[in-house]
C-alpha cells in the first residue's frame, strides 16, 4: 500500500532581508566621500494621477556631506514633501518578502489526521540669501526652501541643466559625470528637481541616528520612476525594489518585461539555513536567463490578508503613512481594539537589477486589472525523524526520491553544482551512489 504522507505543518517564515537601501535620485557629496547607490527601496502609491512616492535611505557616512538630487515629474511645493517612518517600509519589506514554508512529514506508521498549525506570530527579523543670489546668476531659481524633519529642502527651478549642475558644483557638491545630459533631458520633459540636505541641528534635536525616508506627493499623468540618474554614480549594477500600492490590481512595467520569479518549489532542507544565498543565486540566474532586461515580480497580493504571512499585513494607519490617500481618515482613527484590515489596497513588489546598458529608459508602469495573488514561496518538506514502529523502507524510498527531485530542482533554479548539493542532503537510507560520470566529461580537461 502506498503511504500517504500527511502534512503536519508548522509554517515558519524566513525572510530575505533587503540590506542596502538608498534613494532613486543621485547622491551628491562634498569632497572625496565616495557615495554609491547600491539598492533602493521605493514605495509608489498611485490612483488615477495622484501619486505618493516614498524613498528609503541607507546613506552611511557623514551626514554633513550628504545631499541628494531628486527628479519629480511636476512642480512641487514644500507641503508636498514629508519625512516618513522607516519602520513602515521595513514592515512592508517584511510583509512582501519571499518566504520559506516548512512542512513536516507525519509518523509514517500512524493513521493520519490532518493537523494544521499556522504561526502567524513566527519570529521574523525585523525584516538662504547668498545662496539665492548665486543661484539666480546660474539660471537656477531657488523657488523655495523648507526644513522638513531633518532635511533642508531646496526646490529648484532650473531652466538649464548646466545652471543646476554648476550651482551644485559651486556649493561644493560632487556631480557624477554624465549627469548634465540626463538632467537636461529631464528638464526638457518638464521634470523638476529638488535637493535634500541634512540639517544637522534638526537631526540632533530629533535624535535619529539614521536618515528617514523622504516622501513626495504629486499629481502627474506619468506613472514612472526615473532611474537614469541613479545609474550615474553607481558602480556596476544596482538593485531596486518598487512597492506599488494601488486600488485595483497588479502593477507592471510597460517598457520592460515583467516576469514572475519561480515559486512554490520544494527545495532541500538545508536551504532553510542558506535562504539568502539561495535567493540571491536564483535571482542571478533568472536575471541572466532574461538577458538582464527584465523586471521581476516578487509579490502581488490584496493587502487585506496573506497566506502564509511573512509579517502581518500593514494596518490602515501604516498605509495612510505611506500615502494611501483613499483610505479614509475614519478608518485610521478607529478606536476599536481590532483594527479593520485595509480594503482596496493591492500591493505589488517588483525587483529590478539595472544598469544604463540594459535599462536605457526610465521605468514606465501601468496598473493592470490582475488581482491574482502571487508570492515567492519556497517549500521545505522535512522527513519523519522519529522512531519507527513498523517497516518504513517504502517510506524511506519515497523520501529518497523526493530528496533527489529537490536537489535537481535546486540545481536548476540556482545553477549550483548538483554534487555540492548532494553533499548537503542527509539522504534517507544513506548517501546516494555517486552519479556515473559520462566518459567524455574529462576527455579534454
Amino acid at each position: 500500500m502506498r503511504l500517504l504522507i500527511t502534512l503536519v505543518s508548522a509554517l515558519v517564515t524566513v525572510l530575505v532581508t533587503t540590506s542596502a537601501q538608498a534613494f532613486c535620485g543621485f547622491y551628491v557629496a562634498r569632497a572625496d566621500t565616495s557615495l554609491f547607490n547600491r539598492a533602493s527601496q521605493v514605495v509608489l502609491v498611485r490612483d488615477e494621477d495622484k501619486t505618493v512616492i516614498t524613498m528609503a535611505n541607507d546613506f552611511e557616512g557623514d551626514a554633513e556631506d550628504f545631499a541628494v538630487v531628486i527628479p519629480v515629474p511636476t512642480m512641487i511645493e514644500g507641503e508636498q514633501i514629508n519625512v516618513g517612518d522607516r519602520a513602515v517600509i521595513e514592515h512592508l519589506d517584511a510583509y512582501t518578502s519571499p518566504r520559506i514554508v516548512e512542512y513536516h512529514d507525519g509518523d509514517p506508521c500512524v493513521v493520519y489526521e490532518r493537523l494544521e498549525m499556522s504561526s502567524n506570530d513566527a519570529a521574523f527579523p525585523s525584516a538662504s540669501k547668498q545662496l539665492k543670489r548665486s543661484a539666480r546668476s546660474r539660471g537656477v531659481t531657488i523657488e523655495a526652501q523648507y526644513t522638513v524633519g531633518e532635511y533642508d529642502i531646496l526646490i529648484l527651478s532650473a531652466t538649464q541643466s548646466d545652471g543646476l549642475i554648476q550651482w551644485l558644483v559651486e556649493n561644493d557638491y560632487r556631480i557624477p559625470s554624465g549627469a548634465e545630459r540626463v538632467v537636461d533631458s529631464y528638464l526638457k520633459q518638464d521634470m523638476r528637481f529638488f535637493v535634500a540636505k541634512v540639517n544637522l541641528e534638526e537631526q540632533s534635536k530629533l535624535g535619529f541616528q539614521y536618515l528617514r525616508p523622504l516622501q513626495v506627493a504629486y499629481e502627474s499623468n506619468r506613472f514612472m520612476l526615473p532611474i537614469r540618474l541613479g545609474t550615474l554614480n553607481a558602480k556596476g549594477k544596482q538593485e531596486l525594489y518598487v512597492y506599488a500600492l494601488t486600488r485595483t490590481g497588479r502593477v507592471e512595467t510597460t517598457n520592460y518585461r515583467t516576469v514572475k520569479l519561480p515559486s512554490n518549489v520544494t527545495v532541500p532542507e538545508f536551504v532553510e539555513d542558506e535562504f539568502a544565498n539561495f535567493y540571491r543565486a536564483m535571482f542571478d540566474r533568472q536575471t541572466k536567463a532574461e538577458n538582464e532586461r527584465a523586471v521581476f515580480l516578487e509579490y502581488a497580493w490584496d493587502m487585506g490578508w496573506c497566506d502564509p504571512c511573512a509579517a502581518d499585513p500593514l494596518s490602515a494607519r501604516e498605509l495612510r503613512q505611506l500615502g494611501v490617500f483613499w483610505l479614509g481618515q475614519h478608518d485610521v482613527e478607529s478606536k476599536r481594539a481590532i483594527q479593520p484590515r485595509a480594503q482596496n489596497v493591492f500591493v505589488t513588489r517588483l525587483h529590478v537589477r539595472y544598469d544604463a546598458e540594459h535599462f536605457p529608459e526610465d521605468l514606465m508602469f501601468q496598473e493592470t486589472g490582475d488581482r491574482q495573488n502571487y508570492q515567492g514561496r519556497y517549500v521545505i518538506q522535512h522527513p519523519w525523524k522519529g522512531e519507527a514502529s513498523c517497516d518504513i523502507s517504502q517510506y524511506k524510498a519515497s523520501v529518497r526520491d523526493r530528496q533527489e527531485r529537490e536537489a535537481q530542482q535546486l540545481a536548476n533554479l540556482t545553477g549550483w553544482d548538483l554534487g555540492d548539493i548532494h553533499k548537503k542532503i542527509p539522504f534517507a537510507g544513506g548517501a546516494p551512489e555517486p552519479e556515473k560520470e559520462p566518459w567524455w566529461k574529462r576527455l579534454w580537461n
Binding site: 545630459r181 537636461d184 533631458s185 526638457k188 520633459q189 502627474s220 499623468n221 506619468r222 506613472f223 514612472m224 485595483t248 490590481g249 507592471e252 512595467t253 510597460t254 517598457n255 520592460y256 518585461r257 515583467t258 514572475k260 532574461e290 538577458n291 532586461r293 527584465a294 546598458e357 536605457p360 529608459e361 514606465m364 501601468q366 493592470t368 486589472g369 490582475d370 488581482r371 491574482q372
Partner: protein
C-alpha cells in the same frame, strides 16, 4: 473545390506568424495568456462570424479574417475572466457587421474590442512590454518576411506608420540629448510590432488609395506619439487607431482607390509570387 493558393492570400502567412507567436507566448515566454481565454475568443469569434454571414446574406463563410482577429486579440488582451474575453470577441466581429460606412467596416475589429474592454472594465488590460528582446528579434524578422512575401502590397500603412513613429522617437531623443539606445528600446516592443504588422495593416479598414493609406499611417503614428510621449499614457498606438478610424471614410471620399478583396490582393499576383515557389 478549388483551393486558394496560400501565397495569394496574405492572411495565411499572418495566421502562421500569429499562431507561432501565441505558441511562444504561452509555452516559452509565459506572459499570462490563459489558454481558456484563447479558446473562448476563437470559438466566439467564429460563431459571431457565422451568424453575421447568415444575417448579412453573404455568399460564403470566411473564417480567416475572424481567426486573425482572434489571434491578435488573444495576444494583446489580458483578463482573468473568460466572459470578458468572449465579450471582446463579440464586439470585434460584431463591429464588422454593424458599424459600416460605404460598404466598409469603420473600425479595426481587434482594435475596437481592445479599446471597448479597457473602457468598460478595469479587469481587462493590454500588456505591451511582455516580450523578451530575443522574441522581438525573431518577430521583427517574421514581419519583414511578410513584407517581402507580399511584395509590400497594400503595406503603405504599415511602412508609413513605422517610419513616422520611428522618426518621431529618434527626433525626440535627439532633441532631449538622449542616447539612441532609448528610441531603439522603445521600438523593440512586441505589442508595437503586432499593431504595425497585423492591426493597422488591415486593408479592409484602411483607405483605398495608396497615398491615402500612407497618410493614414503617418497620422496614426503622430497621434500615438502624442498619447504616449506628451500625455504619457500607455497603449498609444491602439488608442490612436480608434481615434483616427473615422478619418478613413473621409480620406476615401477625397482620394479614390480600389476596394480590397482578400483573395485578389494584387493585379498580377501569380507572376510576382512564382519566384517564391520555385
Amino acid at each position: 473545390m478549388k483551393l486558394l493558393s496560400p501565397l495569394r492570400d496574405p492572411r495565411y502567412f499572418q495566421v502562421a506568424v500569429l499562431t507561432s507567436l501565441l505558441a511562444v507566448g504561452i509555452g516559452i515566454l509565459n506572459f499570462g495568456i490563459h489558454w481558456q481565454n484563447a479558446a473562448t475568443i476563437m470559438l466566439t469569434a467564429q460563431f459571431v462570424q457565422y451568424i453575421g454571414t447568415r444575417l448579412a446574406g453573404l455568399p460564403r463563410f470566411d473564417p480567416l479574417s475572424a481567426l486573425i482577429t482572434s489571434l491578435s486579440l488573444t495576444l494583446l488582451l489580458r483578463t482573468e475572466f473568460a466572459s470578458l474575453a468572449a465579450t471582446a470577441a463579440v464586439i470585434a466581429i460584431g463591429s464588422k457587421f454593424l458599424i459600416r460606412f460605404r460598404n466598409k467596416h469603420v473600425f479595426n475589429p481587434a482594435n475596437v474590442a481592445l479599446v471597448s474592454l479597457m473602457l468598460l472594465s478595469d479587469r481587462a488590460w493590454v500588456s505591451s512590454g511582455q516580450w523578451g528582446s530575443a522574441a522581438i528579434g525573431a518577430f521583427a524578422l517574421a514581419c519583414l518576411g511578410f513584407l517581402v512575401l507580399t511584395r509590400a502590397k497594400r503595406a503603405e500603412t504599415t511602412i508609413a506608420f513605422v517610419w513616422a513613429f520611428g522618426t518621431l522617437l529618434v527626433g525626440r531623443a535627439v532633441w532631449l540629448g538622449d542616447p539612441l539606445s532609448i528610441p531603439l528600446h522603445q521600438l523593440q516592443n512586441g505589442a508595437l510590432l503586432i499593431f504595425a504588422f497585423f492591426m493597422i495593416s488591415d486593408p479592409k479598414t484602411t483607405p483605398d488609395a495608396p497615398f491615402g493609406r500612407a497618410l493614414f499611417g503617418a497620422v496614426v503614428a503622430a497621434v500615438a506619439f502624442t498619447i504616449q510621449f506628451i500625455f504619457y499614457q500607455p497603449n498609444g498606438p491602439i488608442l490612436a487607431l480608434i481615434l483616427c478610424a473615422p478619418l478613413v471614410p473621409l480620406i476615401d471620399t477625397l482620394l479614390h482607390g480600389s476596394h480590397y478583396q482578400w483573395d485578389k490582393p494584387g493585379a498580377r499576383p501569380s507572376a510576382s509570387l512564382k519566384g517564391v515557389h520555385s
